[in-house]
Amino acid sequence: MLEIKNIWKTFNAGTVNEKTALRGVDLTLDDGDFVTVIGGNGAGKSTLLNAVSGVWPVDRGTISIGGVDVTKLPEHKRAKYIGRVFQDPMMGTAATMQIEENLALAARRGQRRGLRPGITKAEREEYREQLKMLDLGLEDRLTSKVGLLSGGQRQALTLLMAALRKPQLLLLDEHTAALDPKTAAKVLDATERIVQKDHLTTLMITHNMRDAIAHGNRLIMMYDGRIVVDVSGEEKEKLTVEQLLAMFNQASGSDEADDKLLLG
């Protein structure tokens, strides 16, 4: 479904701020794979997802989605294949527009936008049903401005928008990190349900090792612009936080045990 071959990305090349964030990443996802991504700050996780979304072009390598080479496509053209949720709840929705308008914008992702109605009656019904699934009471607030919603509600809505037209690829970048624990659990729960329902091929970044283990059928760890750990299947199911920690320390060449991790 997703095929990443040897991609490289250097920011601010030739300046003092030069930073090589991706160093030859290879990654192939099968149809329906749900992959969790972990790694320290600055490991290149977000950069990897941004490369796939086409936020900027990569320096080297190729990316194809569902057999289509998208390496040279601009961000808005790749959007046809990709649903995204970001860490910042402000980033994924248009705050000054209504809930239903946001959903209607997402429903038209990948289509030509002309002078047809921005939203139809039939759509409203559909959205009401979909919002019910989230169980946040949003189905009664279709015409509320998104700016009035809480961070958790916005993330749940962004998730719904991302999944609305069954994207070939779902990219989640720490989408629960800015939420309180209870809301985070709820959004994660909704994520699991939505991914399962439509068998979406998913990449989910998280800083929470327990979540990384509990969700998905495959786990990758990034360090310094590379994928350093890749476990799946039975091995992934048996994984413990302690094992993961050990792997991380091995990869990063440090052996300081970080207590904070165990709290996750």
Binding site: K19, H76, M91, A94, L105, M209
Partner: protein, 327 residues
């Protein structure tokens, strides 16, 4: 007072015409979130194109249409400077505006002003609006500028209301609301920005064409400071009517009302004996004040709320704080 009342219909008519320009400013400033300075030039372009075409016998509606298209062309230039050449929007607008000064002069046959032969009754009667139609004894009510421009404004609001409810219009609004989200939803934000700038400047030029008819000619400095008048109208409308007018069409209407109020106030201070020279200073000060209100409010009443959105409950793998990946 009697003087003021006598001058009122004229002030309202002018306000209505400038209100159409202000609706154009609303599209860029409020919907697209771009401060577009092209308007100071494109307003005059509309008047220049209209006066020259109409003067050479072209049909009124055709002349207005060409004026509208000329404005769109100006918007296109700014849009391309901004999106295709990466020039900040404000600077792109300033460049176009500067260039337009020469172009406007060229359109007007290298003369600083051109007039319409309104003393000729045949010509006058072909005009859509003129301050001569303010005379209710000589002309029927349906020729009165308030009526004509009022209907014109209503039609423009209706068309815009329709357009912004369409897929393309919604894409434009999304671009102004959150570019990042817009792109993630497959919207080519460069295209929507250019389109918005074209639509806006088209309306601004149309208002210029109306004003040239109203005042019986066009002169090269007519649009100077138009952006500030537009902002004044948008802000006055917002401050007074934001709580009452929720619907999008009504918001556009409030811009028009804002422009009318602006012209009534201007008329009032002129009647009070203010030297017209100080009008621009007065406008700049008032708009400056109103623009700073939201900032000061935000600074003192909701200062630290924003800091709470990100960063809670993150379980970090290592202790350092990483770079910001949301560039």
């Amino acid at each position: 007072m009697a003087n003021f009342l006598n001058a009122l219909p004229g002030a309202v008519s002018q306000g209505l015409i400038w209100g159409i320009m202000a609706i154009g400013v609303y599209i860029t400033y409020k919907i697209l979130d771009i401060a577009d300075l092209t308007v100071d030039g494109s307003f005059c372009t509309g008047g220049a194109v209209f006066v020259m075409l109409f003067g050479s016998g072209v049909n009124l509606w055709v002349a207005m249409l060409v004026a509208f298209l000329a404005g769109m062309l100006a918007g296109l230039v700014t849009g391309l400077l901004h999106t295709a050449c990466g020039i900040p929007a404000i600077l792109a607008g300033i460049l176009t505006q500067l260039g337009l000064y020469s172009i406007n002069l060229a359109i007007m046959d290298m003369r600083a002003s051109q007039s319409i032969a309104v003393t000729d009754n045949g010509v006058l009667n072909r005009l859509l609006v003129s301050l001569r139609f303010l005379n209710t004894e000589k002309f029927p009510f349906y020729r009165h500028p308030i009526f004509v421009v009022g209907v014109f404004t209503a039609a423009i609001i209706a068309i815009l209301y329709w357009f912004f409810g369409r897929e393309l219009g919604a894409a434009l609004r999304a671009t102004g609301s959150n570019q990042n989200m817009a792109r993630a939803q497959g919207i080519n934000t460069n295209v929507t920005k250019v389109l918005g700038l074209m639509l806006s400047n088209g309306l601004v030029a149309l208002a210029g064409a109306l004003l040239s008819q109203y005042s019986g000619g066009n002169e090269i400095n007519v649009g100077r400071g138009a952006i500030v008048i537009g902002l004044a109208a948008v802000i006055i409308g917002e401050v007074l009517l934001d709580k009452v007018f929720r619907n999008f069409a009504l918001k556009l209407l409030s811009v028009s009302i804002g422009a009318i109020l602006y012209y009534i106030v201007i008329q009032a201070v002129l009647q009070m004996g203010l030297n017209p020279n100080y009008l621009k200073l007065l406008t700049a000060v008032v708009v400056g004040l109103f623009l700073s209100i939201p900032y000061w409010k935000g600074k003192y009443f909701r200062g630290y709320k924003k800091m709470r959105t990100v960063g809670i409950n993150m379980v970090k793998i290592d202790g350092e704080t990483g770079g910001d990946d949301r560039a």
